[in-house]
Symmetry: C2
Subunit: 321 residues, 2 copies
């Protein structure tokens, strides 16, 4: 019997690096993860990944065949095969990640940033299946995005297109990790909604369970829990977040006119709390010709495996060209 | 001798409709225009155009051969071949413009909005020649735009992508013709800079020749002339306009990461007065990974013929596919 062709999908993150063997239908035959140690060089991580991938693949080798390696990583550059000054990894400067992998694996290797990988995954296996124009937005620690137009991911002239988290909401607004002020990410990320809660706690007099939590301890999950219990500060924080996100999504629609916008990541787990008001505000800010045309939907990929499936889709897509 | 293949490029505008015979190298063999009467039906305009095109083409017919018709028009939809509720024409509802042309011409006919046509023209014959990722922005009566990524115009899911004039600068800002508030168009168009002058005249005490001009009489050209003479209100108006435009261009870069942004139309004629500060503000608002990478340049097409050449490029591009 012919062996099943599988891609290795790898998601390099600040805390963990996950990988899995992804077939053409988006089925993940097996997955595993290893800790991404904070002060480890890229070369060492790749070496450990080679060992782990080999170990996990060996029992599958009679039924499966590796076709290539797709990698999603923060600040990855598709054109150059590099990761450049990643915010949550200790790697400095420009690291030739594709080159490092090729030293260990005699296979095609492609890399892109994590949000782009997620966008490809949604298109191939998930909520954007069959769509030619869509946007995927991750509302996690940061706000990442992948834009697809005419059936192709938009990399742009330098490979870094799709940074909607750094569109400017207010030039005099909150300080952002990027050094500028008022980026969407400072409002619509997991950390952004925490900052909004602290502003509301300062400006309002409503009672709230969140008044007993320090800035360091507050998480977006706590805000979700409080909102479900009717906490007025938490509910208002979702409304403020949704208004800003909805406005910037309406702006994004004027650029590429997507069929759907797919939200995933930590804040998207709040479900209706974030989807309903964001959709409402998005429509209220929408240019008439686009109104009530653009779907706002959650990821169609299994939670926790989005990035691995996306990285797998990346190499499947690459080899199909 | 083989006849030169030419495309008919047609630019339908609110005041005039221009057309020309455009060869593969962007040379316009001949052009002409006819008034677009305010209350004329689309069918009548097409009939008159057929007469005019036939008349102008007859003397060329021994040396040239028509390959097709490309049309640029406000609110045109590439997918449907229609013009839908155009703001500056008296046509109501959805007009099947491609269908009307096909009644008169046994040729391929394609339509797109005027800014998209300009973008194709710049890519094929002008300032974006050889570029795969760029944005063309018209700063005219309105602010239009055409986005090219991966060498293809972005039409989006419904054919209306690229409406950067309707990204939102300030949700509580100036009223826009689209019914919403704070669109880029209300600041960065010819009319937008006039509105800025009136705000400045109200808030400042500087002497200015513009204090003697009524709102109805003021034009962006007068503001340019005053600025060249050192008028402080006019100079400040360019600075305010450039700051807002620069910020929204930085946002646009985060979407598609273009190699260049090309500005044309009335306000772009102010040259350095608008280009220099816009570039400066764009860079100051730019996400670090894009900083000092994106060119801000004027149109590379002959003034006055941009739209006709763009419409010609549209059909050349279409037939090459």
């Amino acid at each position: 019997m012919a062996r099943t062709k599988v891609a290795v999908g790898i998601d390099i993150g600040g805390t963990n690096t996950k990988f899995g063997f992804v077939d053409r239908n988006g089925k993940c035959l097996k997955d595993a993860s290893l800790p991404t140690q904070g002060h480890e060089e890229a070369a060492l991580l790749v070496k450990r990944l080679h060992e782990a991938i080999t170990k996990e693949f060996t029992p599958l080798s009679s039924e499966a065949e590796l076709i290539g390696i797709g990698i999603g990583a923060p600040n990855a550059n598709y054109y150059r095969g590099t990761v450049e000054n990643p915010p949550n990894l200790s790697w400095k400067g420009v690291v030739d990640v594709v080159g490092l992998f090729k030293e260990y694996f005699p296979l095609p290797v492609v890399i892109t940033n994590d949000a782009n990988a997620a966008a490809l995954g949604e298109g191939m296996f998930g909520a954007a299946k069959g769509m030619k124009d869509y946007i995927v937005i991750t509302l996690g620690t940061g706000v990442g995005s992948g834009l697809v137009a005419n059936g192709q991911l938009i990399y742009g002239s330098d490979g870094f297109a799709g940074e909607l988290g750094h569109t400017i909401v207010d030039p005099n607004g909150r300080w952002c990790g990027c050094g500028r002020r008022g980026c969407l990410e400072t409002y619509a990320s997991a950390g952004g909604i925490c900052r909004t809660v602290f502003e509301l706690l300062a400006s309002r007099r409503d009672e709230s369970t969140l008044r007993s939590v320090s800035f360091d301890d507050l998480t977006s999950k706590m805000i979700t829990t409080a909102a479900h219990q009717g906490d007025p500060i938490a509910l208002e924080a979702f409304d403020v977040t949704a208004r800003i996100l909805g406005m910037k999504l309406a702006d994004a629609v004027t650029h590429t006119s997507p069929e759907a916008i797919i939200l995933f990541g930590g804040l998207a787990h709040a479900g209706d709390l974030i989807f309903r008001p964001t959709k409402q505000y998005m429509e209220s800010f929408m240019l008439n010709i686009f109104r009530n045309k653009v779907k706002l939907i959650p990821s169609g990929l299994p939670d926790g495996n989005t990035a691995v499936l996306g990285a797998g889709a990346l190499i499947w897509k690459e080899l199909a060209v």
